[in-house]
Symmetry: C2
Subunit: 254 residues, 2 copies
C-alpha cells in the first residue's frame, strides 16, 4: 500500500451550472468534478472533502478542500494540472501539503460569506447569475441599523432551515456589514463567523430585506433570535447572490 | 394606415449566448429577439435598427436602437414591457420618443468601447465570458506608452478586418486609455472615437498585447498605421472582452 500525502487546496467556482458542492446521484457537483480530475491524475480513486457544502447556484471565491494523493508532486504543477484539467467553471487557486491530521471541515475556525444584491432598474443582464435582485423599495439606512443585531454569540435556530440535523445551533458572528460595489452596481453584505447553519446567511438576508422594505420593524432581529422559531424570520434569499469567500483554520503548530 | 411613432432605446446585453446583434438565418441574435418582442407588443411586424452590429460573444452596456411603433405609449411602460418581455440576457435601460428623422446608425457622432482583460493566474471562473484572458507576461508600462499612438485622425486600414466593405477607413480616436478594475481583477481599455471599423478595437488590443509581451517594438503603431496593411497589426483579440459602452448623437435642434 502506497503512502498517501494529504493536500489542502483553495478553489473558486461559478455555482450557476452546479447542483451545489456535494456529490449526489444524477447531478453535476463540484465535488464530483474534482474527484474525477484527481482520480484521473492519480490513477486511483481519490475522495475530496470540502469545508462544507454550498447549495445549487451558490458560488465560491475561496472554498477549501483536502484530499489524499499517492505521490509527492511539485505544488505549482499540482495546482496547474488540477486547474486546467477541471471544467472551466472551477479554478484552483492554491495547493499546499498539510499534515495527515488536517481536515477541511472539522478544523474550520472562521468562515466569511458575501451576499450580492442588485436593486436598480432594469436588472443587469451581466449580474443575473452573480447577484440576487430586489425590485421593491429598500431603506439601506434601516438595513444598516439592523445588521449589528446579528453580531455576537446566539442560538440561531430561527435562522436555520428546518430539516437541518445539526443539534447545536449556537454560532458566533464577528462581522455583519454592508458596502456598495460601484463597478458592478452590487450591494454587498459581508458575514463572518465561526460557522453558519444551513441556509443561515440567506435567511438573514431575507430578513434584512423585509426590514429594509418596511414589512418588519427595524428592531425585530433580537426578538426573532430569542424566539428560536424559523417561522418568525424572513424568507430564504435566492442562491445566486451568495459567495463563500474565505475559510480560515488554526495556524499549524510544529 | 396608422401613424407610426419613432422610439429610440438604450439597451444592454450579455453577448455570451447570442450570435451577435444582427439578424441572421438560424442563429439567435439580439435584433431578432427585440423584433419578436416588439412585434408581439404591436400586433404587427416591427423592424429594429441598431447603431451598428456587434459580433458573437461581444457585450453591450449601452447599444442604441430605433424602431417605429404604431401607438403612443407611456415611455416607462414601454421600457418596462420591452425589458420584461425580452429574454433575461437583454435589458432595456431607457426609451425615448424621437423625431422620424432620427436614425440609430446614420446619426452616430461618437462611440465608446471597453475591452476587459484578465492576466492573473488562475483565470477567474466568474470572468470567463466577461473578460478575455492573457496567460503570458505583459508590460503594462509598454502598453500605456503605446496607447496614445492611436489618438487622432488616421486611415485605420491596418486595423480593419479584411473583407469589410467600408470604403472610407479614416476614423478619429479621441481616447485610448487603460485602468484597473480592482473589484473584478480586470484591466480595462477604453476607446472612444467618431466610429470604429470592423473588428478595429479587437485588432488594436491584439496589437497592444504583442507590444506588452515584447513581440513588437513599443513604437510600432505609427508604422503599422502608415503601412495600411492588416498583416502588420497583431491578431484579433477574443470577443468576450469587448463591450459597446456608449453611443452618442448630436443634440436635437428644435
Amino acid at each position: 500500500m502506497k503512502l498517501m500525502i494529504r493536500y489542502k487546496a483553495i478553489i473558486a467556482y461559478d455555482g450557476t451550472n452546479f447542483s451545489g458542492f456535494q456529490r449526489q446521484i444524477n447531478a453535476r457537483t463540484v465535488q464530483e468534478e474534482l474527484e474525477k480530475t484527481l482520480t484521473k491524475m492519480a490513477g486511483q480513486a481519490i475522495i475530496v472533502h470540502g469545508s462544507g457544502r454550498t447549495d445549487a447556484g451558490v458560488h465560491a471565491l475561496g472554498q477549501v478542500i483536502h484530499f489524499d494523493f499517492p505521490h509527492a508532486r511539485d505544488l505549482e504543477k499540482m495546482r496547474f494540472a488540477l486547474d486546467t484539467q477541471s471544467p472551466e467553471d472551477i479554478a484552483v487557486i492554491k495547493v499546499e501539503r498539510v499534515s495527515s491530521e488536517f481536515h477541511a471541515r472539522y478544523d474550520v475556525i472562521e468562515k466569511t460569506y458575501e451576499y450580492r444584491l442588485q436593486i436598480q432598474k432594469p436588472r443587469s443582464p451581466f449580474r443575473r447569475h452573480y447577484a440576487a435582485y430586489y425590485a421593491y423599495p429598500l431603506s439601506i439606512e434601516k438595513i444598516e441599523q439592523a445588521l449589528p443585531d446579528f453580531l455576537g454569540t446566539h442560538d440561531f435556530t430561527s435562522f436555520c432551515a428546518t430539516g437541518s440535523s445539526v443539534e447545536d445551533k449556537v454560532r458566533t458572528v464577528y462581522e455583519a456589514s454592508l458596502r456598495y460595489d460601484q463597478e458592478n452596481g452590487d450591494l454587498v453584505f459581508t458575514f463572518r463567523g465561526d460557522g453558519f447553519l444551513y441556509k443561515m446567511i440567506r435567511i438573514m438576508v431575507g430578513t434584512l430585506l423585509k426590514i429594509g422594505n418596511d414589512r418588519m420593524p427595524v428592531d425585530a432581529i433580537p426578538k426573532i433570535i430569542a424566539a428560536k422559531n424559523r417561522q418568525l424570520a424572513g424568507p430564504t434569499a435566492h442562491p445566486e447572490g451568495l459567495y463563500l469567500k474565505e475559510v480560515k483554520y488554526a495556524p499549524v503548530s510544529e
